[in-house]
């Protein structure tokens, strides 16, 4: 019970530190960002998580600057082709979570509201099925209007293009991820290559849902805490840590002698193989390596410029325009600061 008291005391202190940061948020972000980053890596106290995510993503400001906008969007009718798919997805997100278990329950209703609002807010983007689990995680923490603006930030600032019609950005990030893997964990890289397991086969759900369907829940929250602070590079690093953990040693590969066995392992990560503190520690330790590898990929593609871009487009039969590709590459070249 003494240890419990200590833990409670530590948690209380942590909360106080966060509340203090909230009071002078702009100053903290501007002058002491490293400290904010470290505190996010330690895990945001659950009582303050919702507020912290909104501050980190700037969605709170967005909400302040757009009063009444969400209600306005809600009043619009929306396009049938989006509403139809959204409705089919409502009962297929976190079916074991009490908020989303009941058909037509308040969780599913709110999910409908914010996904629909997004299709009206960005009619050119519409709805992508991977947005539903992301929106659901947000709704577990905050009311619909706040969750909506947070979703907007994720779709536009954190993962631009991930949910757009051609799914170009996610496919490109798959290629980048694989090339980073070659440099950071050659053993896993060779194994995946040997069995012709394209990155798109395992990382699509990981990246698009920000691991919300992949990791044990306590890990999901820790990953999202870091993600909101540091951005997409966290997604890359978590992916690398997972591959290294599952395919990074001769012992582990011995049981995975085939495409099927490997895919099964990657798509159903057993919760007891992942420990929250170790995951966070390894993600933090990746530091400059990912940056360097991404930058190499960026340079390689940039130096040979349009020819290799065209070649990439043709080879992977991606319906990419050169300008989108360069945009994504540019944004990825600054994955780590």
């Amino acid at each position: 019970s003494e240890r419990l008291e200590v833990r409670v005391e530590v948690a209380r202190q942590r909360e106080m530190k966060w509340i203090d940061m909230f009071c002078h948020w702009d100053k903290w972000v501007k002058h002491r960002f490293q400290k904010v980053k470290l505190r996010c890596r330690k895990g945001i106290p659950s009582s303050l998580r919702a507020r912290a995510w909104q501050l980190l993503s700037n969605s709170e400001e967005l909400l302040r600057d757009n009063p009444g906008k969400f209600e306005e969007l809600e009043r619009e009718q929306g396009e049938a082709k989006w509403l139809d798919i959204i409705e089919k997805d409502l009962h297929r997100q976190f079916p074991f979570h009490e908020m989303f278990a009941a058909r037509g329950g308040h969780g599913q209703q709110d999910l409908y509201r914010i996904l629909k609002a997004y299709t009206i807010y960005r009619p050119d983007e519409g709805y992508c099925q991977a947005q539903a689990p992301v929106a659901a995680v947000l709704l577990m923490h905050m009311p619909a209007e706040q969750a909506f603006w947070c979703l907007v930030q994720i779709c536009e600032k954190y993962l631009p293009g991930y949910y757009s019609a051609g799914l170009e950005a996610i496919q490109l990030d798959g290629e980048i991820f694989f090339s980073v893997l070659r440099r950071t964990c050659p053993m896993a890289y060779r194994h995946l290559k040997k069995f012709k397991i394209d990155p798109i086969l395992y990382m699509t759900e990981w990246f698009m849902c920000i691991f919300s369907r992949t990791l044990p829940w306590s890990c999901v929250l820790r990953v999202w805490d870091m993600f909101f602070c540091e951005g997409v590079k966290i997604v890359f690093r978590v992916g690398l840590v997972l591959l290294k953990q599952m395919l990074g040693s001769v012992d582990k590969l011995r049981e995975l002698q085939g495409m099927y066995e490997t895919m099964e392992r990657l798509r159903n990560i057993s919760p007891d193989t992942i420990r929250e503190d170790i995951l966070v520690q390894e993600v933090s330790a990746y530091g400059g390596r990912v940056h360097k590898a991404c930058f190499c990929f960026y340079l390689e593609t940039r130096v040979i410029s349009h020819f290799i871009l065209l070649w990439l487009i043709l080879l992977s039969s991606l319906p990419l325009s050169v300008s989108t590709l360069s945009d994504v590459l540019l944004s990825r070249s600054s994955l780590s600061q």
Partner: protein, 211 residues
């Protein structure tokens, strides 16, 4: 270790979002149906070994996300398949209408000959039915496909449809092999004729080892 099967085939499941592709596959490979499930994001596959006409066949069944935008990802896998199950939901007219698009997409993105069947899923839900069995049969007929009405939740026709498609793929494969052997025979006959003119045919071992 000896191989556990004689053939490996790849099958593909295509159809609109929410028609029940994942549930059908789960019913088939795990003999299980769960009313709580999550939407498929991206692409996944399951394996099962079947016995067809005394032959052990291992099938790899690719399950795809139904939303249109995922096609930029999933279509890359169309070419690897030898058979396709087109699925619609009998309680959803639109998913039936979209079968035409799924069929033409497969034509567009593939070059190989493929075996195909049409499946109308959720046939147990008679209250909400919007597409009659007759309509399904007719559409399948117009494409020259076989047709099944299935229910993943009540386990109706699930293994029958997967097994039938596997059978069709196996038959097509055997036909191809026969044709290949046939043309090999005629090639060898021709080689025999050639041999009369020339004295050595090094690539036919049974002739060259006359020692």
């Amino acid at each position: 270790m000896a191989k556990q099967y004689d053939f490996l085939f790849r099958l593909l499941m295509l159809g609109d979002s929410g028609v029940g592709k994942t549930c059908m596959l789960r019913r088939f490979t795990e003999s299980d149906f769960d009313t709580t499930h999550i939407s498929t994001i991206g692409i996944d596959f399951k394996m099962k070994t079947l016995e067809v006409d005394g032959t052990k066949v291992r099938v790899q069944i690719w399950d795809t996300a139904g939303q249109e935008r995922y096609q930029t990802i999933t279509k890359q896998y169309y070419r690897r398949a030898q058979g396709v199950i087109f699925v619609y939901d009998v309680t959803d007219k639109l998913s039936f209408k979209h079968i035409a698009k799924w069929v033409s997409d497969v034509d567009e993105y593939t070059t190989q000959k493929m075996e195909t069947i049409l499946v109308g899923n959720k046939c147990d839900d008679s209250l909400r039915r919007e597409v009659s069995k007759n309509q399904g049969t007719k559409l399948a007929g117009s494409y020259g496909m076989e047709f099944f009405e299935t229910s993943a939740s009540k386990n109706i026709n699930i293994s029958e449809s997967f097994e039938r498609l596997t059978e069709l793929v196996l038959q097509a494969h055997k036909r191809d092999v026969d044709n290949l052997l046939g043309s090999l025979d005629s090639y060898l006959d021709k080689a025999d004729l050639e041999e009369d003119k020339e004295s050595t045919v090094p690539h036919l071992p049974q002739r060259s080892c006359a020692c």
